[in-house]
Symmetry: C2
């Protein structure tokens, strides 16, 4: 593939072109080209529109040209939905005619999964790179640029009066989802700064558009629908920059579960599968992940309005006990925190509500006086004023004086300045209240599901504002030592590498003979553990080459002989390298710690509940490396296993500080190993009581060449 | 509270009355009584309507009566939304006038949470029970009886042209949710056989209506919204009967999480909290639980249409890669199974689709030929014909020839006879396709969330058809022995009780003196374990009264002395009863087994991952007792811990049969203990390799008086 020469046009130019050529333009809106030129002219694009059609003199009253070469140029953007067999020639003509960029809707390229499709895409990119012409697509649904009054798409979702302008940017790999999302958002009154579908990302890719939107003063918040990233590291750099400039990034990533299914069931892969790593990295950068594209855009609109939600506690209010019951259960089940009202708030609520209803959730059905509209407004104001209420969630059921009550609730809640999310549970019976909500500018959703998704994203946004500080390399001299050799590490090699960075490991000596083992044991102190060492050895215990509790020299000597016999008898484990003589360590709990390099997303650290049941427990957290002490502690705090570390049921708190030190140190080890890291894993690491430290008892690893 | 005398009217009579009296009836629809009589007359109730209003001669052209006593009677049903202070007198007048039932919307009764409200409700019930008059409510929203063309409610959701008749029954504790659900269902074209809100369930309760609907030939399927059941055991009897007659029961139960929060954090309570028990019992009876009332009714309509879904494998199809990607991720994340297409199906798909798209999920974007409408229909037919596809899930995005494609997809999928669920992702742009879907009678949802909920319930319905057989008491002589004394059981007492039913426990002897302990140890064989016994002793290990690995008589004697000193020195644990001398048991894994009696739902068995981390692992399943071997095995199979039992990573399969025996035996123990059971828990139970059995190592329990 050729290196690109200087680009003829940038993203901003593509989204606001002076001229657009439409291949296959006709007056027939049953055809792709016919619809494209129809929508382009219908929505008032003020630039120059050039229909390309050898069989027409005019299209929609505009002079048509038999070819791009015959059209007055150079043209900024050409859009092509021509048949596959004609596409490459048309693109080559565009390149020759000086076209700035081609938007290609035609399919039949890399997405076919066959060699012919891949070859067609290679030739397409070759043409583009050789000329500096940019490509959007192929296999995309074009783009919509509201500020330029321009739709470059054949999708019937453009059958609307006018394209709404807004400040949400949308980047979608899928063309079909881009137009579905656009249509839903349009119906909900949400406009975009720009919508771009990238399809196969053959030339321009998601991050090109993302970088542009981060700099675009007309875009406040960015939504992404992504199937696969061309360059994971570039994406994370962009995400970090978006965070710096204060533009929230929301994202739906598919392949969450397919990735898991396809991933090799190797040990490490199953512990830190690709989506898990991706999600952890996103969390550390404040990228807000969700699962529904429409819900993402609705939530983006909320976050645009309340970019700094003041808290993550949810206040739930409903006109009915049923609504408040549904609301509070769903909020809790979604892992969100139901706010705890302070005594002052409860006292105020008790003036107007009966005791069972004067708390979170509020059920307005329990009011003392008869002025239901007034009480509704009062209650909303009181609850929204509570310091622990960061977001108000109103589950609206029918009620007498429905519109007036809705108005009172919404206005009082909005007056607090805090985010307000309303879920309207009835159907057409709530058309009036929906109108009222629109009039007072209060966000609402027609399902509790959608409301919850918005709550989750608002909460995630709040939490992303308090992300741990960036990692700083611990003070003191840098770890020193020769670089590890490529290939699998034996247990003592893996431990030595970790120990260089300050991770405590068992006292141990690699003994090449029984005599050496006995001498080592005497130095370490009985009882000792003896473990066979061979480079390709994986499940030591299963092979019977781990001997615990050896109490004297005779036992060590016998064990050495037995282990040596086993390993020398099994060629699959590689050469016998001796036995590791090790102190008998003890601890209160077993954890797993590890690092690995994700091919897409770089170095990560993992930590979780360890021991032989590590895969069954499946209680592992992942974070990108390096990480700060605060991030390491937060990672441990997310484990189900956390109460064991923190101390439960009379058990003492364990040495979390020492674990945090080790996690931070491993993060830097991962960074320093760079591309050479495959993985390094220590399991079990024994954790002792607070102040007593930790010790890695077993380890394995692999280094690339 | 008085015992009721013979009821004057049954539920059927209340839902199809000859006459209805409306208290506070007026021509003013701003008033409760005014709206009630307006909706009653507007929807064509053919019976006798009697407005009760001392200030009017006529209401809506009907003769009005100053009091119920003055009205021609006896009246079948009176509906009252009068002020609280007038309510009891009005109800007493109804009772005196021979009214069959009062539907009471007035609030201010038990739901206030104070003594005055409770007392008002007590008097209300007293009046009813003394007369045989029935009460619906108070604090309800009335009822809707479409077959009688009757709405007895003040809710504005009755502002519709006509009440749809249907075959779904709806019972809602919350009045507000009943009308919200009714309204959403109405908008979706779904009608009801009857909708009843029960409010405080002061007299008629949820199960009264449920029993009636189970017998009602006009009701095919029943939806319930429940906050609390008056009589859990009665509900389960009704659920069993519904299952026998083949009427599916769907249910939203609130208080799922509140229950957890409020539940005492005692050991057993946290392991088998009330909702968990309830959900387990529901699962065993085929009751389909969900979390959204509207989604419940939509799903009920689907299940009514496809009462026997042929499988639980989901076939996912979309016109676009984005739609199929979203669909398959969400299906997997919801815990549903993506169907595995057979070779024949894939072969047929390869005729029309490219290889990457010719599998589940199907992305129609990868078609070979240009006839997109024809290919869509072909693909839907081929996928729906696959034997592993039990349910079709179509994620509809925009596409050229949108309506024709939608029609082809829906018709082909429906022709298979299998359930079809469509999620329409665009908004107004899909209005045409939505119309087409309605025309061909294909169910669709406007959100993937709603579609998924329907898929989950269809899948649950399929699985409920294959529930394990009823439990049968194991053959052989019934366990014999004296009934246990009331109070806490010591470890040996708890084990002896379980052992009577065949649960293997450690060989052990309770020794009152050091000499007796030494003799017992000699009989059992060294090494032994010695444990202090005292009735109020809970965390033995934490107190240092468990001594492991005692190798000889001297060690036993020393341990006895030390344990006795500790226990005699701590009055809180109760009298020292001696030391239990016990074999040193071994096993490959530790489980917890237990039984308890839930005050609402009766006896249950619990089984899960055991050991000291039982609460951290939180991997416990619960099932109602007694249970069959198949049910016990299914319960184990649901544990995350299951792979350890089944054998993982070269570890041998463990003795699951012995565990199943123990679970079944414990179920019968729970049944036989009846009301006397509080709880009995064994942790750890060591599980050995297959064929080697299990052994309960520790146990505790409590028996009621």
């Amino acid at each position: 593939m050729n290196e690109p020469i200087a680009a003829r046009i940038d993203i901003g130019g593509i989204l606001d072109p002076r001229s657009v050529a439409v291949f296959g333009a006709s007056d027939n809106t049953d055809k792709f080209g016919g619809r494209i030129i129809y929508y382009l002219t219908r929505h008032g694009f003020p630039g120059h529109v050039l229909p390309i059609n050898p069989n027409r003199d005019t299209v929609r009253g505009l002079p048509a040209y038999p070819s791009i070469a015959a059209a007055p140029g150079p043209v900024d953007v050409a859009i092509l939905a021509v048949p596959p067999q004609a596409l490459l020639d048309a693109v080559a003509e565009c390149a020759a005619a000086g076209v700035g960029a081609c938007v290609i809707m035609t399919t039949g390229f890399a997405e076919t999964g066959d060699a012919a499709g891949a070859e067609r895409q290679r030739r397409l990119v070759e043409i583009a790179r050789a000329s500096g012409m940019r490509i959007v697509g192929p296999n995309c649904m074009g783009l919509i640029a509201p500020r330029a009054h321009m739709a470059l798409t054949s999708s019937l979702v453009l059958e609307i009066e006018a394209i709404r302008q807004g400040r949400v940017g949308l980047i979608s790999q899928s063309g079909a989802l881009m137009v579905s999302i656009f249509n839903r958002a349009h119906d909900a009154g949400i406009g975009f700064s720009a919508c771009v579908s990238l399809g196969n990302q053959s030339d321009l890719e998601i991050c090109d558009v993302l970088d542009w939107m981060i700099d675009d003063p007309g875009t406040d918040i960015i939504c992404l629908y992504v199937e696969g990233l061309v360059d994971g590291a570039r994406f994370f750099r962009a995400a970090a920059r978006a965070r710096e400039v204060g533009k929230p990034l929301l994202m739906v990533k598919t392949g969450r579960t397919e990735a898991g299914v396809r991933a090799a069931r190797s040990h490490t892969a199953s512990l830190a599968g690709s989506y898990r790593v991706f999600a952890a990295a996103c969390r550390s950068l404040g990228v807000l992940l969700t699962d529904d594209p429409d819900g993402m855009v609705r939530a983006a609109d909320l976050i645009r309005r309340w970019p700094r939600p003041p808290g993550a506690g949810i206040g739930v209010l409903s006109p009915s006990g049923g609504g408040s019951g549904i609301g509070v259960d769903r909020v809790s089940e979604a892992g969100l925190r139901v706010a705890e009202l302070c005594a002052a708030t409860k006292g105020k609520l008790l003036q107007v509500l009966l005791p069972p209803q004067a708390d979170n959730p509020i059920d307005l059905g329990g009011r003392r006086s008869g002025d239901s509209v007034g009480v509704a407004g009062q209650c909303a104001a009181i609850m929204a004023g509570d310091p622990d209420v960061g977001i108000m969630f109103i589950v609206l059921t029918t009620v007498p004086f429905y519109e007036a009550t809705t108005k009172a609730l919404a206005e009082a809640a909005l007056a607090s300045g805090k985010p307000v999310v309303v879920a309207v549970t009835p159907g057409s019976a709530a058309d009036g209240p929906r109108r009222v909500l629109r009039e007072v500018g209060c966000p609402y959703f027609d399902t509790v599901d959608d409301g919850l998704r918005a709550l989750r994203l608002l909460t995630a946004r709040h939490e992303s504002l308090a992300l741990p500080p960036a990692a700083e390399r611990p003070a003191g001299p840098a770890p020193a030592g020769p670089p590890p050799a490529a290939g699998r590490l034996t247990e003592p090699e893996a431990k030595a590498l970790a120990a260089r960075y300050g991770v405590p490991v068992t006292r141990e000596t690699l003994a090449a003979s029984a005599d050496a083992a006995v001498a080592a044991a005497a130095a370490i102190g009985y009882p000792v553990v003896l473990k066979g060492v061979a480079r390709a050895l994986v499940h030591k215990s299963d092979m019977g080459v781990v001997r615990l509790g050896l109490a004297d020299a005779a036992a060590v000597r016998r064990a050495f002989g037995a282990v040596e016999a086993i390993l020398r008898g099994d060629l699959s484990v590689g050469a016998f390298e001796g036995c590791l003589v090790q102190e008998m360590a003890r601890g209160e709990a077993e954890v797993i710690l590890g690092i690995r390099r994700d091919p897409q997303f770089g170095p990560v650290v993992l930590a979780g509940m360890g021991g032989v049941l590590v895969e069954i427990a499946d209680d592992i957290e992942v974070a990108p490396a390096p990480l700060s002490r605060a991030a390491a502690r937060a990672m441990l705090g997310r484990l189900r296993f956390w109460p064991v570390l923190a101390g439960v049921r009379g058990r003492p708190p364990l040495d979390v500080d020492a674990l945090v030190d080790a996690i931070v140190a491993l993060g830097w080890l991962a960074v320093d190993l760079g591309d050479r890291l495959v993985d390094l894993e220590m399991n079990p690491v024994f954790v002792r009581a607070a102040g007593k430290g930790i010790v890695a008892v077993d380890a394995r690893g692999e280094i690339a060449g």
